[in-house]
């Protein structure tokens, strides 16, 4: 660091350094839009709270806690000029006088400072906050904000308080502002500027549709699914309007996706000539820093081809304009062959799930291995699957306390001792049974923690920050073996929709799925449709190139597919015809929910649902005069064997807009199960409703029998009684004859 830059830094620190005044501790308002029309768009200002960065609740930190990190990103088109982080925290009351640890705040490994000491007496410390300036040059496209326990540099060997001593409020926030940079229009940058996966916060995607005919809707759906493939779990929000304004000045600002055929296009100056399926990236006339992705054609069919070209990458990306000449559709993907799902036909190597570089630690550390499973794995009453773990490590000589801990979805699995090894790499191997109970239907995290003990006596270890000789590596040939688990599901089951999009994603290119939209879909219908398409493809990693959209009148061509009905009872008649016509308000609709009869509950033909989630609970729910936004339900399709109909019905067009927000919020995913999910304003209630079921997949005969008897207690009882009666009658026949024989002639 040159003396000049150092002095500048000092100056900046002097100007902006923290002011621990609680009165300042409120998130700043976004700056008012300045008056010059375009200059206003040049500036940007953002703030996000820690909870938006993933700290769902307050974090308590103790003297022995590991570092806590939060990540935030920026697209390269934005340059940060100012930034600050405000930490709201409170010290916990304590009774001991042992020295408290210090908390250091880092951004990208560079320290921003230490949290100030507590205000008030140790028994009743008051909440406080501290603001730290973030030097703009430290902010990159992906940033880590870290809070760590630090030793007092003056007293490194003092004994410190090891219990929890401070609570960090998730309402702490980072605020940044700067300018936007104009980029040239290059198709090769896609999905930029629409997506940048390191970017923090929800991405809003605005679709403008020229019309709502079927090929155009399919084009929009395919485009949304392309976004889903690219998004990699970025929270998304869709906006969609059908019909285009004549005045280009009334277009929304920001980045837009325009899907339209030339006859529908107003005479806008920025539209390039269209000579077939066309993809183009142009500046937003209302916002020079916004872009419009044009998906165009001379007719709706060509638009659909253009969208296919986009999602398959079959276009010339060298400039800002491309004509999609011909599409080569890839061979259809087989069952469960989604790119993002584990192929359970063979053991899965860990290096296919995680980059090799991320399977190493230096010192104590945690290696997460994230993987998605096909939703139809049948884990009922099985105990475990094997994890073949190949690993290598270096620890200190004579240090025997180090361990390797394994957790699946935060559930402890096993702990392997890491005794001290002779120098030189030696591969170790362990086969570890991992509990199937801890597996979730879709997303899973296997965490491998290397827990090294330093072995240095306390008095010395306090001066040594870390020991480079402690190394751990998981070798890439380690593997998860799920081959023994059969693929078998009972449907309908809404739980599988948020967990993998099953059964629609069973063929990941949506070959077996058709979406039924209202005759003229409104914004709510379109939002849910696009969001769902993006969601399904995000789950599979494969664009839905075989997606079919239809309306109630043209259903017959898609009878043999799994159907997704979207709309309201007014706009989509199929919702009434194939659904349960919820909420219950007519005797007819009431009859569609099969309330469990007395006879059924007495005889338990099959295992009844838990009372709180049964059909009675559903009926009671609606009797209590609740006003849901809408209902999601899954039913057996009456049109074809072993197909489902998923209904997404809003109470009104307006409520569909809010339903979209609730339904795709991952926090609510665990509330979706059974056959009916009632979507409320801020939560989802799900119910298990008796009715027809079917199964997909196959089970080994013994497992199938066990599962059948498990599901049908009356069957168990009947089989047992028959068998007992049979055995008893045989024995009753044999015994007297034997007795006769015993007594002799």
């Amino acid at each position: 660091m040159t003396p000049f830059r150092f002095s500048v830094l000092l100056l900046l620190v002097g100007l902006f350094f923290s002011n621990p005044d609680p009165s300042l501790a409120t998130p700043p308002e976004s700056p008012a839009v300045a008056s010059p029309p375009f200059e206003a768009y040049r500036q940007f200002a953002k703030s996000f709270t820690f909870s938006e960065l993933g700290w769902r609740r307050a974090v308590e930190i103790s003297g022995t806690s590991m570092d806590r990190s939060a990540f935030f990103g920026f697209p390269p088109s934005q340059m940060v000029e100012q930034g600050q982080v405000t930490v709201r925290f409170s010290y916990l009351p304590r009774k001991t006088s042992v020295r408290m640890p210090r908390l250091e705040l880092d951004i990208n490994e560079t320290s921003l400072g230490t949290l100030p000491l507590p205000l008030g007496p140790p028994e009743h410390p008051t909440p406080q906050s501290a603001t730290f300036r973030i030097p703009p040059y430290l902010v990159t496209t992906l940033n880590s904000l870290r809070i760590r326990v630090a030793k007092d540099p003056n007293h490194p060997c003092d004994r410190i308080y090891t219990g929890p001593f401070i609570r960090i409020d998730p309402g702490s926030w980072v605020s940044l502002s700067g300018i936007r940079i104009h980029f040239p229009n290059r198709l090769s940058d896609l999905p930029l500027p629409f997506l940048y996966h390191a970017m923090t916060g929800t991405r809003t995607l605005t679709f403008l549709l020229g019309h709502t005919d079927i090929p155009l809707l399919e084009a929009a759906g395919i485009t949304a699914s392309w976004i889903g493939v690219k998004s990699e779990s970025t929270p998304l929000k869709f906006q969609a309007t059908a019909g285009l304004p004549n005045d280009p000045g009334s277009l929304p600002t920001g980045n837009l996706i325009l899907v339209a055929a030339t006859p529908q296009l107003p005479p806008w100056p920025f539209i390039p000539p269209v000579n077939g399926p066309t993809l183009a990236l142009v500046d937003n006339p209302d916002d020079p820093y916004g872009k419009i992705l044009l998906i165009l054609g001379r007719n709706s069919g060509e638009v659909r081809t253009a969208a296919l070209g986009l999602s398959l990458g079959q276009f010339d990306a060298s400039g800002s304009l491309a004509t999609v000449s011909s599409i080569i559709l890839p061979a259809s993907r087989g069952k469960n062959e989604a790119p993002r799902w584990i192929d359970t036909r063979k053991p899965v190597r860990l290096d296919t799930l995680v980059d090799k570089d991320r399977l190493k630690v230096s010192g104590t550390g945690s290696l997460p291995v994230r993987f998605s499973l096909p939703s139809d794995l049948f884990v009922w009453h099985q105990s475990s699957f094997p994890l073949a773990l190949h690993y290598r490590y270096a620890t200190l000589p004579g240090e025997e306390r180090s361990r390797l801990d394994l957790l699946l979805n935060k559930q402890f699995q096993d702990s392997i001792p890491l005794p001290s090894t002779p120098p030189g790499a030696s591969d170790q191997f362990r086969s570890i049974p991992v509990s199937l109970k801890d597996l979730t239907p879709f997303r899973n995290v296997l965490r491998i923690n290397f827990n090294f003990q330093s072995g240095i006596p306390g008095i010395l270890s306090c001066t040594a920050n870390h020991n480079p000789r402690l190394q751990g590596t998981i070798l890439g040939n380690s593997s998860l073996d799920l081959t023994a688990i059969p693929h078998y599901v009972r449907l309908p089951n809404l739980r599988l929709v948020p967990n993998g999009g099953y059964p629609f994603t069973r063929y990941p290119d949506l070959r077996g799925t058709a979406v039924v939209l209202p005759e003229s879909p409104g914004e709510g219908d379109l939002r849910i449709f696009l969001h769902l398409m993006a969601f399904l493809s995000e789950e599979t990693g494969s664009p839905g190139i075989y997606l079919s959209v239809t309306t109630a009148d043209h259903l017959s061509a898609f009878r043999d597919r799994n159907l997704i009905l979207i709309g309201t009872y007014d706009t989509n008649p199929l919702l009434i015809r194939y659904g349960k016509a919820l909420p219950l308000d007519t005797p007819e609709s009431r009859s569609r929910i099969r309330l469990e009869s007395r006879l059924e509950s007495l005889f338990r033909w099959s295992n009844p649902p838990p009372h709180a989630y049964g059909p009675e609970a559903l009926a009671a729910y609606f009797k209590e005069d609740r006003n849901p936004l809408g209902v999601m339900e899954e039913d057996v399709s009456p049109l074809a064997p072993r197909k489902v109909i998923l209904s997404l019905g809003g109470v009104s067009e307006a409520s569909l807009l809010s339903m979209d927000r609730v339904l795709f919020d991952p926090r609510h995913f665990s509330d979706i199960f059974g056959q009916v999910s009632v979507v409320g304003a801020d939560r989802i209630h799900s119910f298990l409703v008796p009715g027809d079921r079917f199964s997909l997949g196959h089970l080994p005969i013994l497992t199938a029998l066990r599962f059948w008897f498990y599901s049908h207690p009356l069957g168990t009882l009947a089989a047992l009684l028959l068998l007992s009666a049979l055995l008893a009658s045989i024995l009753s026949g044999i015994l007297p004859a034997l007795a006769h024989r015993r007594q002799g002639p």
């Binding site: 009882l717 007992s724 009666a725 024995l731 044999i734 015993r742």
Partner: protein, 704 residues
């Protein structure tokens, strides 16, 4: 041809039977979705069992179906307990809790095994009939009768010897031996007077077994009838039993039940003589008959006839254990000899008088059976059929009940006192699984054992013995050679009611511990210390324990036994002739060794102290006895016998104990089991026992 046909008939039925077992076991392993489903399944099976029993009483197929239902529920519970509730790999279970979990599981495993073996054993009681002997008595075989005695008083041995003299058998083919290990001159004189042989050993090695073997080597009859000195045979004993051996040359012995005409300590102390079946009734009424079906009748040391050649083959009575009788039959079976059990009481004896004597006797049996288990383990010893192995195994395993019983008495306390988990499951599931198992087992056993063992009494019997049997069985398991032999005392007079605190001490301790558990449980409940369902479940368990212990305590209260000789109810035509030739006719009400009560019209014409001649008619013979009037009332007169001659005494024995049907009727008088009534009865005794205990403890403190 016919036998071939029946062979194939059997084989396909047996193939079908065996084929049915895997699906049966498979169904056991089907998990229940939740406890309500399990309760539904168990409750339905219980209901079906109840219905079947009510609609088709006494049918064999109903009983067997009930057994299958019980096996299913037990197996299902066992599978669930073994796979889901032992807490293996459950981080919520502490290391120190595993021993408790596994102890309870082991105790349950034991009781399931005994239940299953018990069903098997009593699946099809044979109920064998006596076989006729040839018309011509010249063809009847020679029989030696051995009466063994060691230290019993002559008054006990006399009726037995006289009863043997009364046996209906050609005198020239019947030799009666009094085997006196006590070597007492009075006995020798009595033997001479009665005209029987007297044998006394120079030494006393191997106790009763040695005594029998000594006589065995000095006699020569084709069959040997063996009686303990207090088991008085009826006159028909040999005629009913020997026929079976004559007909079946490969039969080694015929065992008959040990019938007791005096109350056992339970019957006497609780005053339920003839109200509940005798403690031994289950063994002789069901188990032995069941054993006989599998050709596994156990020789019980008395009231049996043995074939000399078969005993010769195994070198006489077994001497290695303290239960030489059971061991002898095991050895005979190993050599391929068969056996028979004739469920017809053809002899009767005195039950043990006091609880302590009863316990001593059972301790000996338990030790002996465990010794056999070690020396000649029925599972591994060569020569037995599978079924014989299982029957013997159950006979021996039964005596290991003490540790499991004590575990059941103490297990809930671990939770109530210390909060230690004794199973890794919620209380609802445990109840949903266990209650149907218990209920159906109760129902099935009540159906099987009905007249021979009333519900819940088993627990009282086992609890009484558990603390005393534990050490001897464990010692015998570890070292079968250790320990000594003691003779069961049969005669006794209890002059005054007393609470045998020495015997009752362990039960008082258990009871107080459970009382503490009750208090701790109520404390936990009110303070919410622990899960309420678990607390309630363990509390119910503790209350159950206290009921059983209460009833056991009631048995420990020894009640007066005023009569030296039990009176036997007996109705025979009788008349009395006084000195003035006045003749009064009536009938006997009860008779004992000492006197008789007559139901008679004009008793007022008699005087106290008047000497009379009593005539009792039995079949076509009239027997006369000199008597003295000792009691009078409006309807009856009480007479005591004047000193009788040996011949008169022999006649009295014949009338009292020697009638062929003397005991057959009494056994059929037993009431059948009614489960709830039996529970009520036990609870009544429990209340009685606990109140008496509290009073005794209070009085003791006052005395101090």
């Amino acid at each position: 041809m016919a036998s071939k046909e029946s062979g194939s008939f059997f084989s396909w039925k047996i193939v079908l039977l065996l084929a049915g077992i895997p699906p049966f076991l498979f169904l056991m392993t089907i998990p229940a979705k939740d406890w309500t489903t399990q309760l539904w399944l168990g409750g339905s099976l219980l209901l079906i069992a109840l219905l079947m029993r009510a609609l088709f009483p006494g049918r064999r197929w109903v009983l067997i179906t009930m057994i299958f239902i019980s096996l299913y529920l037990t197996g299902r519970y066992g599978w669930w307990r073994a796979t889901q509730t032992l807490g293996i790999g459950d981080p919520r279970i502490h290391g120190y809790e595993y021993p408790f979990i596994f102890l309870l599981f082991g105790a349950e495993l034991f009781s399931w095994t005994v239940t299953v073996l018990g069903y098997f054993q009593s699946l099809s009681p044979l109920q064998r009939k006596a076989e006729p002997l040839p018309e011509e008595t010249e063809l009847w075989p020679h029989v030696d009768v051995f009466i063994t005695t060691y230290n019993e008083p002559l008054s006990i041995v006399r009726p037995t010897v006289l009863g043997a003299l009364n046996l209906d058998w050609p005198p020239e083919k019947l030799k009666i031996y009094l085997l006196d290990d006590g070597n007492r001159p009075a006995f020798r004189d009595f033997a001479n007077a009665a005209g029987i042989e007297y044998l006394a050993r120079p030494e006393r090695r191997h106790a009763k077994a040695g005594n029998l073997n000594y006589a065995f080597s000095r006699t020569s009859g084709k069959y040997i009838a063996v009686f303990d000195c207090d088991h008085i045979p009826t006159r028909s004993f040999l005629q009913t039993t020997v026929g079976i051996l004559e007909k079946q040359p490969r039969y080694s012995f015929v065992q008959t039940p040990h019938h007791f005409y005096s109350p056992d300590p339970y019957e006497r102390n609780l005053d339920v003589f003839h109200e509940i079946p005798n403690e031994g009734s289950l063994f002789y009424g069901v188990v032995q008959d069941g054993n006989d079906f599998w050709d596994a009748t156990t020789f019980c040391g008395s009231c049996a006839v043995l074939r000399r050649t078969s005993l010769e083959e195994i070198g006489g009575i077994a001497v290695d254990t303290v239960t030489e009788d059971a061991h002898t039959s095991l050895r005979l079976h190993k050599k391929g000899w068969q056996s028979a059990y004739l469920n017809l009481p053809q002899a009767a004896g005195l039950a043990t008088t006091t609880l302590s004597a009863h316990i001593r006797q059972r301790v000996r049996w338990a030790r002996g059976m465990i010794q056999i288990f070690r020396i000649d383990n029925p599972l591994f010893t060569p020569g037995l059929t599978l079924f014989q192995r299982l029957c013997y195994l159950n006979g021996m395993m039964h005596f290991l009940f003490s540790l499991p019983r004590i575990i059941f008495l103490l297990a809930p306390l671990a939770y109530l006192y210390f909060g230690i988990k004794i199973f890794d499951a919620d209380a609802y599931s445990i109840a949903a699984y266990a209650l149907p198992v218990l209920a159906v087992a109760l129902l099935t056993n009540s159906t099987i054992q009905g007249a021979h063992r009333h519900s819940f009494w088993n627990e009282v019997y086992e609890t009484t013995l558990a603390p005393y049997i534990l050490l001897p069985t464990v010692v015998a398991l570890l070292n079968p050679k250790a320990g000594i032999f003691n003779v069961t005392s049969k005669e006794g007079v209890i002059r005054e009611d007393f609470f045998d605190t020495r015997i009752a001490r362990p039960f008082i301790v258990f009871w107080l511990l459970n009382l503490g558990g009750l208090v701790a449980g109520i404390y936990r409940y009110t303070r919410g210390l622990g899960e309420i369902p678990t607390i309630v479940l363990t509390l119910v368990w503790v209350i159950h324990n206290m009921i059983v212990l209460g009833a056991t305590l009631a048995v420990g209260w020894e009640t007066t036994q005023r009569r030296n000789r039990p009176r036997i109810p007996l109705t025979l035509p009788a008349r009395i002739m006084g000195p003035g030739q006045k003749i009064l006719s009536g009938e006997t009400e009860d008779v004992s060794d000492l006197g008789v009560r007559l139901r008679i019209g004009q008793g007022d014409s008699l005087l106290l102290g008047e000497r009379l001649l009593l005539q009792i008619a039995l079949y076509d013979t009239v027997y006369e006895f000199p008597c003295e009037v000792v009691g009078l009332d409006e309807f009856s007169v009480r007479l005591n016998f004047l000193p009788l001659t040996l011949a008169e005494e022999r006649n009295l024995v014949l009338i009292l104990y020697g009638r062929a049907d003397a005991w057959a009727m009494i056994r059929s008088q037993n009431r059948r089991d009614r489960i709830m009534a039996s529970l009520g009865q036990i609870m009544k005794f429990a209340a009685f026992g606990q109140i008496r205990l509290l009073r005794a403890l209070f009085r003791e403190r006052q005395a101090q």
